[in-house]
Amino acid sequence: MTVSQYASLKIEAVLDLIYRLKDTDFPYSHSKDALDKVESVFNKLQRNLGRAEAKGDDLLITTVCTRILEEIFRFLPVIGFILRSTNVRNAFEVHGPALRMSRELLGAETKLLVSSEWDYSPYTYRPIPFLKHFVFIGLPSTESSNPLVIPLAGHELGHSVWQQYMLDTDLRPLLQESVISTIHTNRRTEFKQFFPDTSDEPSELGNSRSVQPAIGPVVAWATYQAQESFCDFFGLKLFGTCYLHALAYLLAPGMVWRPTFYPSLFTRFENLVTAAKLYHIEVPDGFENMVMRHPLPEHWSEREKFLTSLADHALQQNVGDIIDLAKAIIKETGIQLPSDETANEIVERFFKKTVPCHGKVGLANILNAAWKFIGENEVWAEYPQMRHNERNCLMEIVLKSIEILEIEERAPITP
């Protein structure tokens, strides 16, 4: 068989998979819309392969076959994500309110997929060609029916906002300047030690291509760290205290492992406390001490440690601006922000009576109320049959509250 025949069979297998998945029960149309888009990508590739074969141009055939392989690698995880977005373990009630929030932030054409993923860390796909306007939010499968972790979707939405506002372009020069200034003022000796053949003059460091191998990765890591931090502040501003609860629930006490392009969890917690104070958001008791400060991993080389510490330092020098940036963008959208008063009212008027809330209170307020209520065990004493099932009962009440929020948006029947 030829490479072209292999490619043809592979593409048929992908399309066959898509056709079968289209028979799935889709809880909301955006999953199917995404699948339709992926199908159109492979249909086009199939046509391109046919045309290339008809021309008999070997180079063209190889190019198309390569492209087919690349797209299979790119889209197979996306197809898996789409499939998992239909799993009945997911908290489907969240989709409507989360979509409304996404559209307020990113525009009316936004489509949202929320999925249960086999990756413990919530994540989003970076922009995918052909799937413009689609936002993918993956929550760990163990927590996919748990509304208490939904505030972390605010972090993932932050990534889409970061791309849409092209904040990389704004922040990268500032971070680069910080890296250069740090090298020049404090870390010159170390820099010379690790990069003896590279000029450490600020003008050279900023402009010369020859020094990019030295500081290029540092600036890239610092920019990724800035994005992660922005997303933390974005989630915090959007959801309030419950963001801190959800983050601590999922990640405390942290792990020794850390990638160079992520701020350490300790730093994230520290910066979130700073941001919370500036945003006038209450910090849960003991939040600062929930994660351990770990030194940089011992197996890293001294050079790697040096470069990472430069990236870490550049982030910290700009963290105030990033906190302000997240606040300014959210303010610009005019989105409803959480209020402690409303969350307290939800607890007192509704959750303590074991009923869902109503009154267009907003997704963030419901989730803040849920985190406030979770420790109120005495309420369940009136319901002995729920005594060992308080958490599940609360989840049900919270998810019903979220559904009622959506009902109120569609048909304001609740007085």
């Binding site: 029960d25 809880p27 909301y28 009945v88 489907f92 009630e93 989709h95 008027r349 009576k353 074991t354 009923v355 869902p356 109503h358 009136e382 319901y383 002995p384 049959q385 729920m386 099932n389 599940n392 009962c393 049900e396 009440i397 998810l399 019903k400 559904e403 009622i404 959506e406 009902i407 109120e408 569609r410 048909a411 029947i413 609740t414 007085p415």
Partner: protein
Amino acid sequence: MILKADVVASYLEEPDSTDPLVITPSPDIEVLRGSGAASVDLRLGTWFLSLRHAKMTCIDVTKGEDYHEASEKFTKSSYIPFGQDFILHPGSFVLGITLEWIRLPGLLSGFVIGKSSWGRRGLVIATATGVHPRFTGCLTLEITNLGHIPLKLKPGMLICQLFLEEVRGSASESDLSQFNARRKPVLGKMNIDDFSKMLSEEI
């Protein structure tokens, strides 16, 4: 004594009492008060639970089935969002759920029955599901199509009616229903009491 709609409306107007009657989303209180009815109409929710026929030979509750095992093994959960349909074919049975979350105070109980307009089209909702004082949650509905024509069900449509009545006795006693605080229909566990066990033994 069954409460008339205007009395139910009065209960609903006191959501901040210590032991309130709550129906959320609430019916329109003024419409309810003026209806002259003796019940409150309830709507169909978004979750359904059907039995996986291919996985079971029969339901034998005498074998002491494990609740979680039975739920996972023998039932299939479906979510039908607002705007989509659930087609119930003739002879089919499915568990549905009310859209409304109900909380009964200690001195009220209730029962749910279908709506006659649906019944005339073949749709039957249980026989009369009892709702005990202090129940809180959505009500599981046993829905069957006894007609000959498939029926299109849509979340949000009026599907059944709740009759409420005052009860005598201590208001502090709690309902021991396992169906409390649920937003999805559940199969639930069937308890075989000692008396039944003794009678089921062969001599």
